[in-house]
């Protein structure tokens, strides 16, 4: 669609064609109360050169990994390395500008790319089928819960450990708020779910348990035991996983034993070749067992043969989707994140199993190195004793989290995610994330800056500490 604005002559000609004298007359159907009785509150128009300068000034105020700050922020969005090839391939016009490229006659390349993505995701998760992506990790988790409720033969209980990302829990709670469903939260007093409490709440009315592995605090859960408890009650296990961690850890489908693990696995796929960009757009990954495929939301690409017997790709099983199933559809998702799924495909195929393993190893080793260095300082301790992967909860004995963050910012370091906003008991804690990108020099400097215990830098042109609205979990 070309962007061409209407000249006064255009407007006059159109008004004349439909037989009204003015825009006012055209809009008179809309009651005056509902109309904006003033011009829009916008600044003066700018020329291109001026606009370019203005935008650069605005962009210069940003502090982030892209502007050279060293990021220790995690909690769902990660600063992983993105090989240049990912951008090169994903920015090809055929991929980058295509709009819903699913017509089999003209979109074989796109469809094949999505089919390859699905293949990679099923191998990564150890499950049978994958859709070709959802919007993001949190909504994928909510969609998985909807699947469990729809296939749960009237079971209504949804069990969420407190160690699942609070925003995922909020999203799930929102999705099921108007359904016949009851969300039960299980405590995670030591950074991992309390298995005894889990046992006591998972019953024959339980549709599913959602377990994040590694969890929001970076801790490794006893996923095998949680799965046994869940399956013993006839409920579905929904795994929320970290795709990079699967270079080292058991695939969700293999928890307990090969093919006996999670029934549905979801994750935020941003780590796989997509930059952080202020929280989106991202990539929702969802895979499940074959028996659940008819409840699976979103698009699925299938492989078939054409009239000549040649291999080809098509969207398949569309009767699951809302445009056919209408009110009986499990989900009202009617789109996907093809470009980010493509990036994930390129990323995973570049790294391969060995590359993913190496990336995961580096995350583990570097984050443990930093945790140990910080604990040596006496000012800090680890809040939880459970093993961690790439994130850990750091407790400041002096309880000066805001100072630490300000001090980090003054040194171009994004020190971590303050956890008080999610849980008042963790008011003196930071969630610190270390990816493979961090160097030993950076890690050592982080320890140095944080232990300097610098006074609050006053003013300066740096942004304030990252602040998020407290999440209220129902």
């Amino acid at each position: 669609m070309p962007f061409t604005y209407n000249t006064e002559e255009d407007v006059a000609a159109m008004l004349q064609a439909i037989g009204v004298a003015s825009i006012e007359e055209l809009l008179e159907q809309v009651p005056a109360d509902f109309r904006l009785q003033r011009t829009l509150d916008l600044p003066q128009a700018m020329g291109e050169m001026e606009l370019d300068r203005h935008m650069r000034e605005l962009a210069g105020k940003n502090v982030g990994a892209a502007s050279g700050a060293v990021s220790y922020l995690g909690g769902g969005t990660y600063d992983h390395f993105i090989p240049a090839v990912v951008d090169t391939i994903a920015s090809r016009g055929e991929f980058y500008t295509s709009y819903t490229p699913y017509q089999a006659e003209v979109a074989q390349g796109n469809l094949q790319a999505m089919f390859e993505y699905q293949t990679l995701i099923t191998r990564l998760t150890g499950l049978d089928v994958s859709n070709c992506s959802l919007y993001d990790g949190a909504s994928a988790a909510a969609e998985a819960v909807m699947m469990a409720l729809a296939s749960g033969k009237g079971r209504t209980r949804v069990v969420l450990p407190a160690s699942v990302h609070p925003e995922y829990r909020q999203t799930i709670t929102t999705y099921v708020s108007c359904l016949d469903a009851e969300v039960v939260t299980v405590a995670a007093p030591n950074g991992v779910v309390d298995l005894d409490e889990l046992r006591s709440v998972v019953n024959d009315q339980t549709a599913c348990v959602v377990l994040q592995q590694p969890n929001f605090f970076g801790c490794v859960e006893d996923a095998d035991e949680a799965t046994r408890i869940t399956h013993a009650a006839g409920a579905l296990m929904i795994a929320a996983f970290d795709p990079i961690s699967l270079g080292l850890m058991k695939r969700p489908g293999d928890w307990v034993g090969v093919g006996e693990g999670a029934d549905i696995a979801v994750c935020e796929g941003q780590s796989l070749g997509t930059p952080m960009q202020y929280g989106g757009p991202f990539l929702g990954i969802l895979a499940c067992r074959e028996s659940l495929v008819r409840r699976m939301p979103g698009r699925i690409v299938g492989q078939t043969t054409d009239r000549r017997g040649k291999r080809c790709f098509v969207l398949t099983m569309q009767t699951r989707e809302q445009h056919i199933r209408r009110d009986k559809a499990t989900s009202n998702v009617c789109s996907n994140q093809a470009l980010f799924a493509l990036r994930a495909t390129v990323y995973l195929s570049l790294l391969g199993p060995e590359g993913l393993k190496e990336t995961a190893h580096l995350c583990l080793q570097k984050s443990r190195y930093l945790a140990e260095r910080l604990v040596e300082t006496d000012r800090f301790e680890l809040a939880f004793a459970a093993p961690t992967f790439k994130e850990f909860v750091l407790r400041d004995r002096q309880n000066k989290i805001d100072d630490l963050i300000a001090c980090g910012l003054a040194n171009d370091i994004l020190a971590g995610l303050p956890l008080g906003q999610f849980d008042p008991e963790l008011d003196d804690c930071l969630l610190v994330c270390v990816t493979e990108k961090r160097t030993r020099e950076e890690l050592d400097r982080f320890v140095e800056v944080l232990t300097q215990n610098a006074a609050h830098p006053n003013g300066g042109n740096r942004a304030k500490s990252p602040h998020f609205e407290p999440a209220s979990i129902a």
Binding site: K153, R294, T319, I324, R325, R326, K328
Partner: protein
């Protein structure tokens, strides 16, 4: 089964009532006319044994390549048996809708629910009018 001996609901299900041990059991399927209208069938979600159903309540879903349709129980009662093999052999439903393509058997708990059903002749007439 000879369709002329069956009862039909206006939503295109057929019913054959048999009496065993003093209880009336309805065998239920969907008509040839309905099967043809659905075209290529891809999936059936059978009802669960033990489920209570009311007449005109949806208790089964049939999926074709283009649409999903409800199958409504023509009678009030309890599902006592379902045609499990059907799920993997939908062609049986297309080829023999009045025989091997039966869907479920429902023990009738309220015989008044039979009163609203049509005989074959009335059903055929209804289909002709719909066409």
């Amino acid at each position: 089964m000879n369709p002329e001996s069956l009862l039909f609901a206006k939503t295109h299900e057929w019913v054959a009532v048999a009496e065993t041990g003093g209880e009336k059991v309805a065998t239920i399927g969907i008509s040839k006319h309905a099967v043809e209208a659905l075209t290529d069938l891809v999936f059936i979600e059978l009802p669960k044994v033990g489920r209570s159903v009311d007449a005109e309540e949806s208790f089964c879903e049939v999926e074709s390549v283009k649409a999903v349709s409800d199958v409504y129980s023509p009678v009030t009662g309890e599902v006592v048996e379902v045609n499990e093999p059907l799920a993997d052999q939908l062609e049986v439903l297309s080829d023999d809708p009045y025989g091997k393509g039966w869907i479920a058997k429902v023990k009738i708990t309220d015989e008044t629910s039979l009163a609203g059903l049509m005989d074959y002749e009335a059903y055929e007439k209804m289909c002709a009018e719909e066409a």
